[in-house]
């Protein structure tokens, strides 16, 4: 078969593929279009928007959630985010050190109280020269933990009966004879 004939067949099939096969007539089509115009209906939104935008929105929400959880101080991992090195540490005076040594030991807060306080406080200052106003927080009402004294009955062990050992009779030990090397050789 020649290229010419094949091309003709290709064109015929291509034409058939775009032929109007619907039974809808022109009047119906016109009526539908004008009805949609009259009802001020918007063209149908493409499904593509939903398929593309929903993962993007999900990713954005995840990023925001991660940033929120990690806190603003951790976003930048560079050196400027946090003070580094001993030079930036506050210098304690000798008097303060002595005072700290003499101060009574600080009692630890209960674990639950510490956690809640940390959550409210949030991260500390995130960079050099950053001054944050100290947050005015209402005192947290934590019921004092009053542990009832443990009732333990005093132990009263019975006396242990130990049999007395018999007195050991003194052992007579005869004085050892001293044998010299010369005597041993003679024997």
């Amino acid at each position: 078969m020649s290229d010419e004939r094949v091309n003709t067949a290709i064109d015929e099939v291509a034409r058939e593929m775009t032929e109007e096969t619907r039974t809808t007539n022109g009047a119906d089509f016109r009526r539908r279009v004008l009805a949609r115009i009259a009802s001020n209906e918007a063209p149908r939104a493409s499904w593509r928007a939903a398929f593309v935008l929903s993962p993007v929105a999900l990713a954005a929400a995840l990023v925001i959630a991660v940033m929120f959880v990690r806190g603003p101080g951790r976003v930048g991992r560079g050196g400027a985010a946090r003070p580094q090195g001993p030079a930036l540490q506050p210098v304690a005076t000798t008097a303060a050190k002595v005072g700290a040594e003499l101060a009574p030991p600080v009692t630890r807060e209960p674990e639950s109280t510490r956690r809640s306080t940390q959550a409210v406080r949030g991260p500390g200052p995130s960079g050099p020269g950053v001054s944050r106003p100290s947050p005015q927080l209402d005192p947290i009402d934590v019921n004092s933990i009053a542990v009832a004294p443990l009732a333990i009955s005093t132990l009263s062990p019975d006396q242990i009966q130990i049999e007395r050992l018999d007195a050991v009779a003194p052992i007579d030990v005869a004085p050892l004879e001293i044998i010299t090397d010369l005597q041993r050789r003679q024997e």
């Binding site: 094949v6 034409r15 775009t18 593509r48």
Partner: protein, 192 residues
């Protein structure tokens, strides 16, 4: 009355004038959508959307190109957007009505052939051509289908798909060559 006059009247709020434009260009719009989508149901939806969008954008029509070209450009964009959507792809995979309808039409054509052998051979060839056209890249397939739809000049197709006329002609020619090659590789030994 010309398209430009009808557009002017439609802009002034005359729905009958726009209805006349719908009647005039419905077939061209529908076939362009069908060329892009391959499904009559999708094509009709896309054609309706195209007219709706055109009505809303009537103020932006300046008359640089013909109303038909302007309308077909809107139609093509609507159809391509729809083609890219996953829903449309899924619908075509699940309900390949077009193929059934086309095969029925081809069977009817084949039935008019003089001998059953010739009819069977011709039908087989047409099926092969249809498969080969579907396997073309979108650019080549669009150009071929639009060119053979009979409603558009190469210039109009170029305006729709935003490509020079020479490029459209090359794509049509290349599409035919690729289809012939496909046929030859798939058992139609007497081709080319």
């Amino acid at each position: 009355m010309s398209d430009v006059d009808l557009v002017a009247r439609a802009r002034q709020g005359d729905p009958a004038a726009f209805g006349e434009l719908v009647d005039r260009h419905r077939a061209a719009v529908y076939r362009a959508a069908l060329a892009a989508l391959g499904s009559p149901a999708d094509a009709e939806d896309a054609a309706q959307d195209a007219f709706l969008l055109a009505y809303r954008r009537l103020d932006s029509f300046r008359g640089d190109a013909s109303f038909k070209t302007w309308l077909l450009t809107i139609t093509w964009h609507q159809a391509i957007n729809r083609r890219r959507s996953l829903a449309s792809v899924w619908r075509r995979m699940v309900t390949p009505k077009t193929e059934e309808e086309a095969e029925a039409a081809m069977a009817a054509i084949a039935a008019a052939e003089p001998t059953p052998e010739q009819a069977a051979e011709r039908e087989q060839l047409r099926r092969g051509i249809r498969r080969a056209i579907r396997a073309l890249s979108p650019k080549l397939r669009d150009a071929l289908l639009l060119a053979q739809a009979g409603d558009y000049s190469y210039e109009e197709i170029g305006a729709m798909v935003r490509a020079p006329t020479g490029t459209i002609k090359w794509r049509v020619s290349e599409a035919r060559r690729v289809v012939r090659k496909h046929l030859k590789e798939h058992g139609h030994g007497d081709v080319g």
